[in-house]
Amino acid sequence: MSVTVSAEPAPAEPAGPPPSPAEAPGESLASRALATTLRWVVALGGALVVFGAFVMANGANPLQVYSDIWSSTLARGTSLQQILILATPIVLTALAVVVPARGGMVNVGGEGQLIIGAVAAAGVGLMLDQRVNGTVVLILMLVAGTVAGALWAGVAAAMRLTVRVNEAVTTLLLNYVALFVMQYLIIGPWRDPGQNGRIASRELETGALLPVLGSSKVHIGIAIAVIATVAVWVLLRFTTWGFRLSVVGGNAEAARRAGFNVRKLLLGALLLGGAFAGLAGVIHLTGKEYQLVSTFGANIGYLGFLASWLARHRPIPVLVASFALAAIAIAGDSLQLRSGLPAPTVNILLGLVLIAVLGWTTKKGAKP
């Protein structure tokens, strides 16, 4: 039993991080909706203005930068494809945040779960792709990556449920461990000497890669991501499990008194989240990178975290948020080429957007 329960049962609850205050039914009143929209516009606009100021202070014209971002992303077909390819794993890692968040948990480990998923898939792929039919290998890789992602999140879940270490801290540390596991493999056992000194694993055989859509470079991962999003939406909204999970997220004590198995619900939510991130890793590997490289992942998990927060942990808006973030990230590369600003500069914009969303779209009066 927790030590604090007897001290102050009532005020303790609303203080926890509520997953999504805007989700209450009856929010659809026109004036409320307008006010909410206005808040979002002000918040996001504010982030853009502040970022513009930073850009200007560094000798670049902010209007030029924004128009570059616009023309280099949405106005060009090839960039649009790149955005869709990048948005796919972001959607999935965002779902990895959405599901646990419904139960009141913070999964910061999408990055690590994605990497471990890719590592497990690469392990299967490197072992089998030259001997077994490609489609079979691909399916095995998808399974292996998904399971690995779930297990990686399971480490954090186990520590949460047994020794009660907060999952935000453990998932964050596990990100680094996953990164080093992958680096160990590509420096050591899986290193491909035929890479001209580049540290990377061997490229997977073509048969084991995700099929692409038509003549484009976009692979079917985007379809998987959309299906997964709809599935999560249905799961959270229409199933008993989803309902129980959100009761736990709202008030765990009440959930326990109602006879729910809180521990099992939380464990399931975190494992499912990890599975989505692991799947994201396989898709990124088989659809985009084709091999493990030292920069594999490249903050996709963190972008997913951000997307989930932008979407207020609601599955369908996650699609929009992920697309927007992928566009910003792709724009980061063109920013470097055209304005001479370092590519990570877009992280400023990402940070500002998240700060704006956290600071100006939360309901007032909620105490930390």
Binding site: S2, V3, T4, A7, A12, G16, P17, F54, G103, V106, V108, V155, M159, R160, L161, T162, V163, R164, V165, N166, A168, V169, T170, L173, L174, Y176, V177, F180, V181, Q183, Y184, I187, G188, V248, G249, A252, E253, V262, R263, L266, F305, W309, L341, P342, P344, T345, N347, I348, L350, G351, L352, L354, I355, L358, G359, T362, K363, K364, G365, P368
Partner: protein
């Protein structure tokens, strides 16, 4: 070590700050830039502290005043710091500056085994030896410390006595950020011997957050814990100089695995020592 001490103050007041990593990062750059402008690493430390505090203040505003989620806010600051330091640090990559030389304390440093580990460091490390007990004294033996701890244990009781929990927490977070900034400055001014590169802190700020948990929010134990890491890290390079080839990824993972392992062993026990208001955040759904 400084980041851990800073995070202790913040968490004692009931606010967890994952942005510690960000504060360290801007502190590292701030220290570097200030030193390169003035030529004095001492002013560099001040610069690092100022920037670290500034970034942490954003966290204070978001979390304490606006009620934002502490973990999300902290991570937002890491994003922001990473972008800012990449942008403003770009001209400084591959430069070198005046840095803190190590001072071997005569006599003490020649004690076998213990000597080089404890008494052959940069001056900031020695200051840290003093800062930890000082912080312990402030937290547990002074009125200001009592106020900070009350903000973390029973915030309502503090309000009853006419103090503003909001102000206390904001101040604690800002001071914590300043210390994290000093920790960052120590990295760029001493550990890397006066070089700067992108993401120079490499997750040390996150380790600091975990360190505070298993040090049970006690500054002295934070000091001891940081030492454990120092030893673990130097073990790796010691092995390599002995000619034992170790995959560098294993060395990189070591501090994180060690942190997780210690948390797994001590986790539950440490929660008993946690400030109550913080417990609500850490243990947000009160399972078990």
């Amino acid at each position: 070590m400084y980041a851990g001490l800073g995070e202790t103050i913040s968490e004692r007041a009931g606010v967890i700050n994952l942005g510690t990593e960000g504060s360290m990062l801007v502190g590292a750059l701030g220290g570097y830039v200030a030193t390169s402008a003035t030529g004095s690493p001492r002013l560099g430390v001040l610069g690092g502290a100022a920037l670290g505090a500034l970034l942490a203040s954003v966290h204070a505003v978001l979390v304490v005043l606006r009620g934002a989620n502490q973990f999300a806010s902290g991570l937002a600051l890491v994003f922001l710091a990473f972008g800012l330091t990449a942008l403003y640090g770009a001209p400084y990559v591959s430069g070198t500056i005046n840095f803190f030389q190590t001072w071997a304390i005569p006599g003490l440093s020649s004690i076998p085994l213990v000597g080089p580990v404890l008494f052959d460091h940069d001056p900031l490390t020695y200051l840290g030896y003093l800062a930890a007990p000082l912080l312990w004294w402030v937290l547990f033996r002074t009125r200001a410390g009592l106020i900070v701890r009350t903000a973390g244990e029973r915030a309502d009781a503090l309000e009853v006595h006419g103090y503003s929990v909001v102000k206390v927490r904001c101040a604690a977070v800002a001071v914590g950020g300043a210390l994290a900034g000093v920790g960052g400055a120590q990295i760029s001014l001493a550990l890397t011997q006066g070089t700067w590169y992108e993401n120079v802190t490499a997750g040390r700020g996150f380790i600091a957050v975990a360190l505070v948990i298993f040090a049970m929010w006690n500054p002295i134990l934070v000091l001891a814990g940081s030492y454990l890491f120092g030893v673990a890290l130097s073990l790796g390079s010691a092995l390599q100089t002995q000619g034992i080839a170790v995959n560098q990824a294993i060395l990189g993972a070591l501090p994180f695995v060690l942190t997780l392992a210690i948390l797994a062993i001590l986790g539950k026990r440490t929660l008993l020592a946690a400030p109550d208001e913080l417990l609500r955040v850490l243990d947000n759904s009160k399972t078990t």
